[in-house]
């Protein structure tokens, strides 16, 4: 890289979504699939659209690859390398090679958390072989390569898969249990990287937007729209009473997200089937 010609900046090669470095001439980031030849779409209010990954883009993590196929309800097709494994929820599995073994991730507390009345379980698939994932509604895949030291909180059931280098756990969100319509639910998945980088793939309903909040900066978000956040971002619920007694007094609840860190939201927030 030291042989770069005068005036040629490394910045050109850096993916602005995941900060990975890419070879000159690449049109999509090798690590997250973000197009490198397209302007970032950032609103004046500061939300950046999640990169629209081109159909059939291939990304690399560990010794595996992932191809993103389709655009309306995109599929993440993983070609697992030998020794690689991924975690996922069973309801997002679309198809797989027969030879790919699938087992359960031993976890504590899974019984307390149920998915559509079934016990909540995280499955593990081991390479080599192919396995593909998709979710039940129009939306976008959000590819988040996690670097060591990163800690990300994700809305429950929104994660499609993560690579085995990432520690998976979940946290109970207090104060959100009373929300009925489009509510955030009781749990958030927490992904923590160990010493090696890993890959986390989410699916957001509709379009996905990300914003980086400065320390102390706040934004009010519809709880159903919350998709992910850095664990440094705090989330508190604020209730606002709307209408008078005539309406029976509906209450609007908003999540107050306070920085520092990233916040991701989805633009369609009624959940189908999974909630």
């Amino acid at each position: 890289m030291s042989s770069l010609p005068q005036g040629e900046s490394l910045e050109r090669l850096q993916c602005q979504w995941c900060q990975s470095m890419n070879v000159t001439g690449a049109t999509a980031c090798r690590a997250c699939g973000a197009p490198l030849d397209v302007r970032n779409l950032v609103s004046e209010s500061g939300w950046r659209e999640a990169p629209r990954i081109r159909d059939m883009t291939e990304i690399h993590f560990s010794s595996s690859t992932c191809q993103v196929e389709g655009e309306v309800v995109p599929v993440a097709e993983i070609n697992l390398g030998q020794g690689d494994a991924i975690f996922f929820e069973h309801h997002v599995m679309l198809w797989k090679d027969e030879r790919v073994p699938v087992s359960l991730l031993p976890m504590s507390g899974g019984i307390a958390r149920a998915l559509s009345g079934m016990p909540f379980l995280i499955s593990v698939a081991n390479g080599p072989g192919r396995i593909a994932f998709s979710r039940d509604a129009t939306g976008e895949l959000v590819l988040l390569p996690l670097h060591p030291g990163m800690e990300l909180d994700v809305r429950e059931h929104a994660f499609l898969l993560c690579s085995h280098q990432i520690n998976y756990s979940f946290v109970r969100v207090k104060g959100l249990t009373n929300i009925l319509f489009g509510g955030q639910g009781m749990y958030m998945d927490r992904f923590v990287t160990t010493n090696t980088p890993g890959m986390l793939i989410l699916h957001g309903y509709g379009n996905v937007f990300e914003r980086r909040l400065a320390a102390g900066e706040s934004i009010m978000v519809e709880p159903g729209a919350f998709l992910y956040k850095d664990s440094t971002v705090s989330m508190d619920v604020e209730f606002q009473r709307l209408g008078s007694g005539l309406f029976g007094g509906a209450t609007m609840s908003l999540a107050k997200m306070t920085g520092p860190g990233r916040v991701g939201i989805q633009s369609m927030y009624v959940h189908h089937k999974t909630e």
């Binding site: 197009p35 030849d37 397209v38 302007r39 779409l41 950032v42 609103s43 004046e44 209010s45 939300w47 659209e49 629209r52 081109r54 309306v72 509604a137 129009t138 939306g139 976008e140 319509f181 489009g182 309903y205 509709g206 379009n207 937007f209 706040s218 934004i219 009010m220 978000v221 519809e222 729209a225 606002q240 709307l242 209408g243 008078s244 005539l246 309406f247 029976g248 509906a250 609007m252 908003l254 107050k256 939201i265 633009s267 369609m268 927030y269 009624v270």
Partner: protein
């Protein structure tokens, strides 16, 4: 050059964008500060009065002006999007051979202006209306479409006389309003299209219920009974169905121009009906109509099969729209409740027996 739809780089002379598949505009448009374009199209003689002041200070040295195919605003040649409704400019309108026009394409992040405020439309599957309210200016909306807002933007309930008659999905309809300064953003829960309708003083639009997203506070909101219904009989039980909903929303601008934003599921198609011209549409597919368009039920059934009112397996229920005026439909719609049951009574309807 760049795609006016998604911003992807497309090679010169390409017809379609490799990024999003949208048709590439004939004239090259490069979004970051385009230089004055070479005059490829002779400027049509444009009547000046309707011009919208997009940039009253120092208008760019436009070589050509264009008229927005959606709202009719005349804009300077340097604009890629209509400053009044956000539609992409200098693109051919896509009209089917049957006469339905697709909503004009919109560049992601397109910005439009109203009063001293502005709005950016973000995303393509479930677009977000990100409104930047100027001090003292306001918008109103139904409370379930709020996506996010700045903490300082205050949201309050609007008083609507008689609103208790209307229920939204079992919940009372609460119209809420927000007043600037600050950002507030709205989106709905279906993949579809965000429709921006700039309303000129005196203009009125009738919108099927639940499609409203937000409107500027100078837009007057009213509703009326659709009076389109039928009853079904099962044993001794009679049930009344409103295929269009019991009420329809009516939005109008009285003295000052306003902005109305709707969200429809799937794709939206618009056509203009001449006086007395008719079209049959699925009632649940109707998005909006001009007030001049009359509507009533229309039944269609085969005459070869005996089917009295009691056994209508092969029957279709339509909404018959009679011009003059614009009508719009959406491509995703619900089935009509009660369609396959025994119809015992109905509002005014026409019938076709084949």
């Amino acid at each position: 050059m760049f795609c006016t739809h998604c911003g992807a780089r497309v090679s010169e002379g390409a017809n379609f964008c490799v990024g999003c598949g949208a048709k590439v505009a004939a004239s090259p448009i490069s979004p970051p500060a385009p230089p004055p374009l070479p005059q490829t199209v002779p400027p049509p003689p444009v009547p000046p009065p309707a011009r919208v002041a997009s940039n009253p200070v120092a208008p760019p040295p436009a070589t050509t002006s264009s008229k927005c195919v959606w709202c009719g605003a005349v804009t300077s040649g340097a604009d890629a999007s209509c400053p009044r409704c956000g539609a992409a400019l200098r693109v051919d309108r896509v009209v089917t051979e049957s006469g339905w026009a697709e909503l004009p394409g919109r560049k992601d992040m397109a910005k439009l202006h109203f009063g001293n405020s502005s709005c950016q439309i973000e995303g393509v599957y479930v677009p977000v209306a990100d409104v930047n309210l100027a001090a003292g200016e306001g918008v109103y909306f139904t409370h379930h479409v709020l996506l996010w807002k700045d903490p300082q933007v205050n949201v309050t309930a609007m008083s609507l006389a008689g609103a208790w008659k209307r229920m939204f999905a079992g919940m009372p309809l609460i119209m809420t309003q927000a007043v600037g300064p600050g950002h507030i953003a709205f989106s709905k829960d279906d993949p579809g299209e965000l429709i921006t309708v700039p309303l000129q003083p005196g203009q009125t639009l009738d919108v099927r219920e639940h499609l409203f997203l937000a409107a500027t506070s100078n837009v007057e909101y009213d509703w009326f009974q659709t009076n389109i219904w039928f009853t079904t009989q099962k044993g001794n039980e009679t049930e009344t169905h409103y295929p269009l909903g019991g009420f329809m929303d009516r939005f109008s601008a009285s003295r000052t121009p306003g902005l109305l934003m709707l969200h429809a599921a799937g794709n939206v198609f618009v056509r203009e009906l001449g006086a007395g011209q008719t079209i049959l549409v699925k009632p649940t597919a109707l998005v909006f109509k001009d007030p001049g368009v009359q509507m009533h039920l229309h039944f269609e059934r085969p005459g070869t099969v005996f089917s009295g009112w009691g056994s209508w397996g092969n029957r279709y229920i339509w909404l018959r729209l009679v011009g003059p005026g614009r009508v719009a439909v959406q491509s995703v719609f619900d089935r009509i409740e009660g369609e396959a049951r025994n119809i015992s009574n109905f509002s005014y309807a026409t019938e076709q027996v084949w």
